[in-house]
């Protein structure tokens, strides 16, 4: 086992760095920039049953230390993904995680069945935390019962490792986390973006066409580390930390706080090969601290 390998239940990763959903297309868009087999995994853009065109522009607003987005899950739909993207993607030696999004519990189940029948998917990540859709999304992610229903529907449709991606826009994230685990989640990933809004004061209207959107980037990292640390102490499943990671040190914050792996998102926008550099920096961190196996540092905060 190599020094950076991590095991999240049945999901084995060569290193703890994955791309975050919605920040790498279907993985193939990264190929001009680096060899994706250098990563622990690729988490695809959220897939819905039917293709979605997404929200009207403007969809982006830069804010201090971060950015707001309101893409609205524009995607090609599960069928095209499975027939056209996945065959190209699975040629690469990296874990492929299919992120799925449904507007109803039944849609989540149907999506999971389709993914389960495909060759080359290592895990399913369930998006119950998108802030930018009228139906589905946080509607499920802010309610423990709805979280449980979606999770159970997916659990009933697949034996693949099941990751539930949590929203930070809740009063007590541990309630949602426990609901997901009790309903069959193998792994939790956290956090999705924080609700946010930016206003163009000259025009006196929101910058985003949808009004509000999801905040990502370095500005959310301390809040995300805090939430990972809380969830790590309240459930007994592996976690994937997400939120503003753009260096090996950032990734180590999440790992020490209790995450077994991390997803890198916004950093890819500002540096296409950020994930590869982060893997290298984690390697350097381990060498500098004479750590033979990274997994020994998961949740290993000195207190």
């Amino acid at each position: 086992m190599s020094a950076l390998a991590v095991t999240l239940g049945a999901l084995r990763l060569k290193n703890p760095v994955l791309t975050a959903s919605g920040t790498c297309g279907y993985g193939l868009d990264l190929l001009p920039h680096f060899d994706i087999s250098l990563l622990g995994g690729i988490v695809c853009k959220s897939l819905s049953l039917a293709p979605r065109e997404g929200n009207a522009p403007p969809r982006l607003a830069e804010t201090p230390g971060g950015m707001l987005n309101s893409i609205g899950l524009q995607n090609i739909g599960i069928d095209l993904f499975l027939s056209e993207k996945l065959p190209l993607l699975r040629r690469h030696d990296t874990a492929i995680v299919a992120n799925i999004f449904g507007e109803t519990v039944e849609e989540f189940g149907a999506l999971a069945r389709l993914v389960d029948g495909a060759e080359g998917v290592a895990a399913i990540e369930v998006n119950i935390s998108c802030p930018n859709t009228a139906r589905g999304g946080t509607e499920f992610g802010v309610d423990p019962d709805a979280t449980a229903r979606v999770t159970a529907a997916v659990r009933g449709a697949t034996r693949l490792p099941l990751i539930v991606k949590l929203s930070p826009n809740v009063t007590d994230i541990t309630l949602i986390a426990r609901a997901a685990v009790d309903a069959g989640a193998d792994i939790l990933s956290l956090v999705n973006t924080f609700f946010g809004m930016a206003v163009d004061v000259e025009r006196r209207r929101p910058i985003l066409s949808s009004g509000s959107g999801g905040l990502s980037g370095p500005v959310i990292k301390p809040m995300a580390v805090h939430l990972v640390s809380r969830v790590a102490r309240s459930v007994n499943v592996p976690l994937i930390g997400i939120g503003g990671i753009r260096s090996g040190a950032d990734a180590m914050e999440f790992i020490l706080a209790g995450a077994s792996a991390v997803e890198v998102g916004t950093a890819t926008f500002t540096e296409p090969a950020a994930c590869v550099r982060i893997v290298r920096e984690i390697e350097e961190y381990c060498a500098r601290h004479a750590i033979a196996e990274l997994r020994t540092l998961i949740g290993a905060l000195n207190r």
Partner: protein
């Protein structure tokens, strides 16, 4: 024309960074010998400060590449105007400083000028930056490009200083009449095409770049006169290479086709004016 080579992301050294007046700057970044070639209308994503990235402002900025490959040699040039915080920070960088640059990106202008037609370049403000290399390239290949340049006031005339120096024919309009003729550049375009009547459609191909209201007006004028028109669109961008899906524009392949959001950074920035939904 589709780019022939994949974009590269490199820290590049500033060779020169000249103020051309009224907040206009010409930035020259040294490139290695094996740098990919680019087409007029392709663009670069450039950090506004330190090459290792900064948290604030977080995102790079998209800029048209101003020069053609090899003219001048060994550099990528960015011609920009200070408009916000990012460009203001960038304008403080000096020779020897490094900026990280991801380029070349986007589709660029298709050289679709058939024999006997001329390129009619309609530029609004700093939109001249993407049309300048197209003018030079077109002239190299035997064309006689004509640029119509519009801006608010005479202080924005630095937008065409280099284009005039290069000997490209330029007609100028300002909103306030302080230089050139008074009025919008799209009015100048409309008049020019009107004077030529039905022959206009066989005589010109329009390529335009400028603020969105001007792009829309240009598309309307072009459609009215039946003249082929390519628009280079701008948008805030997070990534510039297709993964954030933030910079989309609504398009229809035919007037009755369903609306499709396409990425300005990958499927554009140049679109056929007829397919853009305003």
């Amino acid at each position: 024309m589709s780019p022939t080579r994949a974009p590269v992301d490199l820290p590049l050294r500033i060779v020169s960074h000249d103020s051309l007046g009224s907040g206009h700057f010409l930035l020259s970044l040294a490139i290695p010998g094996d740098y990919p070639a680019w087409e007029p209308g392709q663009f670069a994503m450039v950090t506004t400060g330190a090459p290792e990235g900064q948290a604030d402002p977080l995102l790079r900025r998209p800029f048209s590449i101003y020069n053609t490959p090899g003219d001048p040699a060994g550099v990528v040039q960015i011609f920009y105007k200070v408009l916000g915080r990012g460009t203001r920070l960038m304008s403080g960088a000096g020779p020897g400083d490094m900026l990280r640059c991801l380029a070349p990106l986007g589709n660029g202008f298709a050289p679709a000028r058939s024999p006997g037609t001329r390129l009619l370049l309609v530029a609004g403000g700093i939109g001249s930056a993407s049309l300048h290399p197209l003018a030079l390239r077109d002239r190299e290949s035997g064309g006689r490009p004509l640029m119509l340049y519009g801006c608010r006031t005479s202080s924005e005339v630095p937008g065409i200083t280099r284009t005039l120096e290069a000997g490209i024919e330029v007609r100028l309009a300002t909103d306030d009449g302080s230089a050139g003729r008074r009025g919008f550049v799209t009015e100048m375009l409309d008049e020019l095409l009107f004077q030529e009547g039905p022959q206009a459609r066989d005589r010109w191909v329009i390529c335009a770049c400028g603020p969105t209201p001007m792009m829309r007006a240009t598309a309307e004028v072009a459609a009215r006169h039946g003249v082929r028109c390519h628009l280079s669109l701008e948008s805030p961008m997070a990534c510039g290479f297709g993964v954030c899906v933030g910079c989309v524009v609504g398009t229809r392949e035919t007037p009755t086709a369903p609306l499709r959001y396409r990425r300005i950074c990958v499927e554009g920035p140049v679109f056929d004016s007829g397919e853009v939904c305003w």
